[in-house]
Symmetry: D2
Subunit: 369 residues, 4 copies
């Protein structure tokens, strides 16, 4: 229980189900004095929501956020910021079938095993609908990171099924490139092929997996706490807390399994652009060494499974373990990746904002006596 | 700061450096009445320590644990259990060179960037020496899991460089199979090849990466907390908190990126051996759905980078950013994987013990009125 | 920062200001299956709100709670319960004067010192308005405690100024007795005198302090965690987190300072009504020994200062430290005590619900092997 | 469970029993670069230990602390500092009688009720012996507070039984005055009377209660977090986490119950010595308004009960609830107050160090854009 709070100093608590009255988050710990309005939350909510293009779910969600507290005369006050996003397009009738049957790949069964009952409308609490307020909370974190350190957090799709875009340089990708196509793959040629593949999969009443890379640039060296709260540990938790993420890797990632030390380790070199003036010539380490940021871009990659909601009849069991079949006929994404991008960015931004504040508490010499 | 505590109810706090007086952990939250003595901690400490075979570091560490509290007349009392493991084989002179130079791939630079100074003997706090007390703490967790639920946590090496053992069935691997060879790969033929490869790499004064799978069997359905403290999220954090881990994946892992929904989703089937009598026919989901345990074995896999300590001269910079060279001539593992196994098991056991207690707090119907 | 969350397993996070859009709480960790509706929250909200009688503030607050999540088909689901209470009667014009002047006894100055700016409408975040959602959250805790253990949490006023009701037996006070008069003092004669005194103080444009006792009956022996999370420690934090509380004492309280050990210590006696069949003959210890519940009623008493809002001109300084005068002409309680009672009960209930769940995690013998 | 950790950023975890091998604490979050050695911990440990004078317990405890980690070349490194204090004078035979009988006023019964078993040697985990490592940890906090802000935390005894020293000005008391007599009452005449009273009580084989005031000077305005982590809330928890504390009050304390608002509220006045140049003319508020420090001295007072260990036969029950008698013949303090002083100071220092770091994370304008 009590697993709906994330972060130590920049702390987000969420509540809400897919088909209840709405989703709420409380962002506690945002420093005071930062300009903020509901407008700041809209762009990422727009990127996250369904119905943006023909390759994502045609559901309509308005996702209009209301800031209920913590902002006064256009600035944050340092007190908790509550954000409410009401659920509007709730066609509960779409979901009646899943009351007693367990959808393959979904959390229906495990929620019942855990709680003994569940809100079976949509995925209830296990629905990705819950991530709306994470994205809203993270818009605040992103703004804070940008204003204080010029940090940009940008994600993109680099794989859909067998199609993998291998030539992208993570640290050079811009939001504009990502938003230039509905797949959110900055390689335009590959994006076109991916879109075609997703369309094909949807026609076959199937779904498809993929991968997304999330990058943060301008993170100073020194963030992250040994030994359990390493930046890579907290980012790992953050990413795996998102629905459908089955793998996370940093820098060279699983490629290290076949690497020799002499080829993996990046070489420290002078870098006048940094303070201290030290960098590495390459970034196979993904921007963290010993779990602490190195000043190089933070680069991680998430494997995202194919949507479990598929409009074909499939075998399953009911609550009593009796065999039956089920098809999920709602309006669902054939590929989660395009809408995953803002969610992945959100979780990275929340972790970075938290560690920024944690590092602030330490980064001063005045106790040296 | 304050990143040395892990867990909510079964909570471990560690302290210690590689070349200071010793490492300590405090295990808070172990239920009372469980038989426990220092003997229980020895086997996994033996598995973790260097000097076990010719393919791991020849350093000698005695790793004799002393239980300082929390056990009375051979049983846990419910109060915190402190464990002290003194450092004995501290050849500090091996490490003098790294005071002012940054070793590639190590945390020397990032610790300096974070703290402004560092204990430069060995890796100090960033050394894997710190994991001794995690392994000791986890021996308690393992015992608790075994006694209460028959849970077994077993890890093994399935990849060293290009050599990957693909035929192993994770849920069938036994501790005996793992311990049958120094590589800790239960596929004996592959283990022999891996050993040869590691020996070759060491001769070339290089190091090599690999991967390890960690499995927990008999975990009941229902453990893990939506939405941030999902079991997969806490396990992800746990694994990434270990040194050198660059990737973590569950079940089908990164393979989901190329999968279709119809092929990825495991099918729910009746399973009379379980309570409730429900299972899945396959385990591509890795034992968790919606981040909550499904009753199937928990299966995860970690990518571990090649040891950064290599006894060759390599270019780097000093504290002032001035180019220089460094070789790490200490006694180091050419391949971290064999000794990673007990560390990976340890972190999984700590997470499971914590979530077992968290689930105990909820799993009762007496509030239903 | 991040100080708006309370509790480990039964965890409440709040947000909201007195004159913003509303106050919100998220109750995370309530076990599933408990009947719950917004109706359950109303009675205590009614007791807390202003305008109930002529001795409390005539402000009107409707305090209609909306449950936004965590309840499905009339039962809790185990997922977080968000509650929204909108602010309705916001006469901001009443407060314009305090933008630049510091009201004596209020948090205006310390909020400015902390945050550099503040929401100066009403007390903003420091207003007791914030406690509405604590009271709503605690109504859930109270119901849980009642259903699972028959625990009742009841508070009452035992002192207003010089008037102290000394003959009340804490463990025998009922909610009905407390609600029988507007002062919430179960001694009817004393209540009448207290009401007269408060009326007199109000006419003099002054305010007056007092004290309130909060009692929990039927708490089983064994709740509370050594050494920092003792029940008395967590209750102490809980009470001191309420506005205006300047002192907290348990059982004999400050009376222990003049006591001898032979007279203070309660004697253990057989008590067939308890399990185990052990009690004490008296309850000077206030229901906790070593900070852990003893099975006797939990009894604590809070000293509450006189309202700082007084409609007389008083000297103060402005933001620049320049002397000036201020009068607080809003609609304020001349004595906080009557409305403090449900707030004190609320905080006790939140602590007990949390420790009930914490004890559930430990109270089983199945690890004894 | 898991109640042995205290603090958010400056975090202390303790373990240990009175008659086990020793007590340990891990101080996580101390900033790097501060000079520190075991010598720094000795003075307060000396003040806490028994055997200092004829009015405290004649037990001998050597209390030699060993720093096991977190300090390198005489300075803190920012990594956790583990401190071990071994138990030496363990006359377990003194305590055999309490295995099956419950000592009145002690935690024997409640520990059994909680855990089902207990370390019955001495008080085990409930013994005040556990506070040794809190005092050691707090010596680090005190040094940090002194070096960074010139903060001094000083406590003293102001009441023993009926003898109350009422003329002491809390903010003017010095450590030297406190240490000038064995009672630790800075009023020398009163101290002599108190000593006489304690001696008399001891001769009568009884014990006596009292009260202690703890003061922190030079705490800047702005520390403490609304709404649950108010400075007064965290200090309240801290004090009540100490054994034998039955009441805590700030500033005017329980005196507010009889006060009128016009007389209680301190008046804001210009104060050129402060930044911002604002203070109050008096300090009835105890240095906190809205739970946030005001720049005035933090002043709190604790009521401490008489020692429960009394060498007279007293009625009680055994584990089965059967009536019997018990006398506690060990070497115990007839009055806890003199040795309480360093414990109270310790807990205040730990809270202040934590909130200092929390405020550092917020107190900057660079997010104002």
């Amino acid at each position: 229980m009590a697993g709906s709070t994330f972060g130590t100093l920049f702390r987000v608590t969420t509540a809400g189900e897919s088909h209840g009255p709405g989703n709420v988050c409380i962002v506690d710990g945002c420093p005071p004095g930062m300009e903020l309005s509901a407008e700041d939350l809209i762009p990422d909510l727009q990127r996250r929501k369904p119905g943006q293009s023909r390759i994502v779910s045609p559901r309509k969600e308005d996702d209009t956020p209301e800031i209920l507290s913590g902002v006064f005369e256009g600035r944050t006050t340092g007190t908790p910021i509550a954000i409410l996003i009401r659920n509007e397009d709730q066609r509960s009738q779409d979901y009646g079938d899943i009351k007693d049957k367990y959808r393959p790949g979904h959390a229906d069964y495990t929620f019942d095993a855990k709680f003994g009952l569940r809100d079976y409308r949509g995925g209830g609490r296990s629905s990705a609908r819950e991530t709306t307020v994470r994205v809203a909370a993270a818009a605040i974190a992103k703004k804070l990171l940008r204003l204080t350190h010029g940090i940009e957090v940008v994600g993109y799709v680099d794989q859909v099924g067998e199609l993998r875009a291998t030539g992208i340089k993570p640290e050079e990708v811009t939001l504009e490139q990502v938003e230039a196509n509905p797949v959110r793959c900055p390689d335009a040629d590959m994006a076109a092929k991916m879109e075609e593949l997703i369309t094909d999969v949807r026609k076959r009443q199937d779904s498809i997996g993929g991968a997304s890379t999330i990058v943060a640039t301008n993170v100073p060296a020194g963030w992250g706490e040994p030994v359990f709260d390493k930046l890579k540990a907290d980012l790992g938790k953050a990413m795996f807390s998102l629905p459908a993420v089955m793998g996370v890797e940093y820098g060279q990632g699983f490629g290290v399994a076949t690497a020799r030390g002499t080829e993996h380790c990046d070489t420290f070199v002078p870098d006048a652009d940094k303070a201290p003036p030290i960098g590495t010539d390459t970034n196979r380490h993904g921007g963290m060494l010993g779990g602490i940021s190195s000043g190089l871009p933070i680069v991680l990659r998430c494997a995202v499974k194919p949507t479990s909601s598929i409009p074909q009849d499939r075998p399953t069991v009911d609550r009593n373990g009796k065999p039956t079949t089920i098809a999920t006929r709602g309006r669902h994404d054939p590929c989660l990746l395009p809408r995953f991008v803002p969610m992945g960015e959100a979780m990275m931004a929340l972790v970075l904002a938290d560690h920024m504040l944690r590092q602030r508490a330490i980064h001063t010499a005045d106790q040296s006596g």
